[in-house]
Symmetry: C2
Subunit: 331 residues, 2 copies
């Protein structure tokens, strides 16, 4: 990608930089010659993992700290050219069980970062990652950015708030923000300790362990699984494209895959494991069973980005990574 040259020598802050998206982004930024600082709280259940920086440990400054620590964040945002603001509570299931924690990280934390930018560095380029769960159930296929906002989960409500904060700080305070609505990310360097988010990765682990993967219902609901390298490519391009300032863009594969097909692809690629169907549990949040496929044309038009990694290839890359590095992620 030619545009990567734009990062040579630039100062970049990645919040949540030890997580899946943040660490893959950091690898790309380091390769492009950026000077990267990471802020990550390494909260136990979340995706932060120091091994995610394997091979570039010496070329990245890591600050273990929390987005909600205003003085720390004020210090870190100073003199940054680009801020990728990825730190978050990322489980929609947890958001329902502890809405106040989700509020604290995904709303208060975001306001603290934006206030810090406003005071200390209003010229930085800021990219925020929201979620397809801002939309709620899809009324159309695919879902474009103009689709109604009817979030059914705390996580989606707060991601929408986070998105709006970023747009508001652009409009009112001149911050150079762009926000993205991510579909279902998966890939290398995701946490593998539990299945509370990132089911593709969780199923890769289950298959690698020869277990039976349980699907609720018939598994026909279609999802938009997007490989982490495609996300990284989009983030890198967005931050270098001035035309995206103040904008909201879907970021997904643009392709719908039935849940069941995704599981079958994993079983085939990994070559182990099995599949079982059970009814939906009665106490499960019954709010996320419809199809969802993102329309990503706006992002392509603005940046030239296109998703490049198909599901089977992404699963193969993921499987290979955890075969080599499994002990750093579970066991």
């Amino acid at each position: 990608m030619g545009s990567l040259a734009g990062y040579a020598g630039r100062a970049v802050l990645v919040t949540g930089g030890l997580g899946m998206i943040g660490s893959n982004l950091t690898h790309a930024l380091v390769a492009a010659g950026a000077r990267v600082t990471i802020l990550d709280a390494l909260l136990p259940l979340y995706g932060g993992n120091r091994f995610n920086l394997h091979g570039i440990e010496d070329r990245v400054a890591v600050e273990v700290g929390d987005l909600r620590d205003a003085p720390l964040v004020e210090r870190l945002v100073r003199d940054q050219d680009v801020i990728f603001n990825l730190a978050a509570q990322v489980s929609y299931l947890d958001s329902m069980q502890d809405p106040l924690l989700d509020l604290d990280i995904n709303c208060r934390g975001q306001l603290i970062l934006l206030e810090a930018c406003r005071r200390e560095n209003p010229h930085a380029r800021v990219v925020f990652t929201g979620s397809r769960l801002e939309y709620g159930p899809a009324l159309t296929t695919p879902v474009a950015e103009s689709h109604p906002i009817e979030p059914l989960m705390i996580y989606g409500i707060h991601k929408f708030a986070g998105e709006r904060y970023h747009l508001l700080y652009h409009r009112e305070h001149g911050l150079r923000t762009t926000t993205l609505r991510l579909t279902n990310p998966y890939g290398v360097r995701q946490q593998m300790k539990h299945g509370r988010y990132g089911l593709v990765n969780w199923f890769v682990r289950q298959a690698m362990e020869g277990r039976t993967i349980t699907i609720f219902g018939d598994g026909r609901q279609r999802r938009d699984y997007v490989y982490v390298a495609d996300i990284v490519d989009a983030l890198l391009r967005v931050a270098l494209t001035d035309d995206t300032v103040g904008g909201v863009y879907n970021l997904g594969s643009g392709t719908g895959t039935a849940f069941r097909e995704m599981v079958e692809a994993i079983l085939e690629v990994v070559g182990r494991g099995a599949l079982a169907h059970v009814p939906w549990p009665p106490d499960y949040p019954h709010v996320d069973t419809a199809d969802f496929v993102a329309d990503v044309k706006a992002l392509t038009a603005a940046t030239g980005w296109r998703p490049a990694v198909g599901l089977r290839e992404g699963i193969a890359l993921t499987h290979r990574y955890y075969e080599a590095h499994r002990r750093w992620y579970w066991e």
Copy 2:
């Protein structure tokens, strides 16, 4: 209103009950024979005023405390039949200057109340007041509930979150919630200390004091001013109408009035004061200058409610009230 009989002997909690809407609602509830408890923090800049209960002081239980005090709220929600959840930070200007305070009251406070209901009283009827500012700039006239949600101010972002929390706790936890999107309320028992919200009342005071009322720009933007008695009538009906559970309804006059006409009506009714036009200040949040008129047909269809007090009549009632009770509101 015949339906008021439904409140005889019932236990009702009004959060923010010393403010304009809450106290007028409490007067109506007491008249209908309800046993009312008020929770109000009496925060200095806000609308809470003990004189608002003048005449019914002995028939209402007042708890001075904060919506964010979880143990207190858990105790208060027990054994209530109806909860009118009106406590809020209510200034959109303040929301822009102190977003974290707005977040704390209008999001965290709402989650605390809903969590308390879920644990202690999941059968209570709960009515929440959101805002027209959830919509952002109107793309249509009038604005129906299906209008896109594009809030441009922290206040509108957080009111939308509060609304979605209430709907979510209905769907996921069975709470019997309804949420309303209010336009521009005015009327008796509003605070008159400052003009940071409730400009109709503020201009009534300025006219009563013989001052010159300053309008930014030409004052042609139309607004939907709704008198507090109409709001109270709607709240009372909504809580008694099971069909509104899980719903979102606009609550306004349904009529657009040019800002300038509103000021001229005040000057005429009060018989003092003057009018001056100045350009919009350059640093003013330039996000609320378009027309806004609510479509209130859904609320009428669901409850039979109709707004009954025209702007001139409402201003006259307001003026008369403050002529009699001015010393309890300013001076």
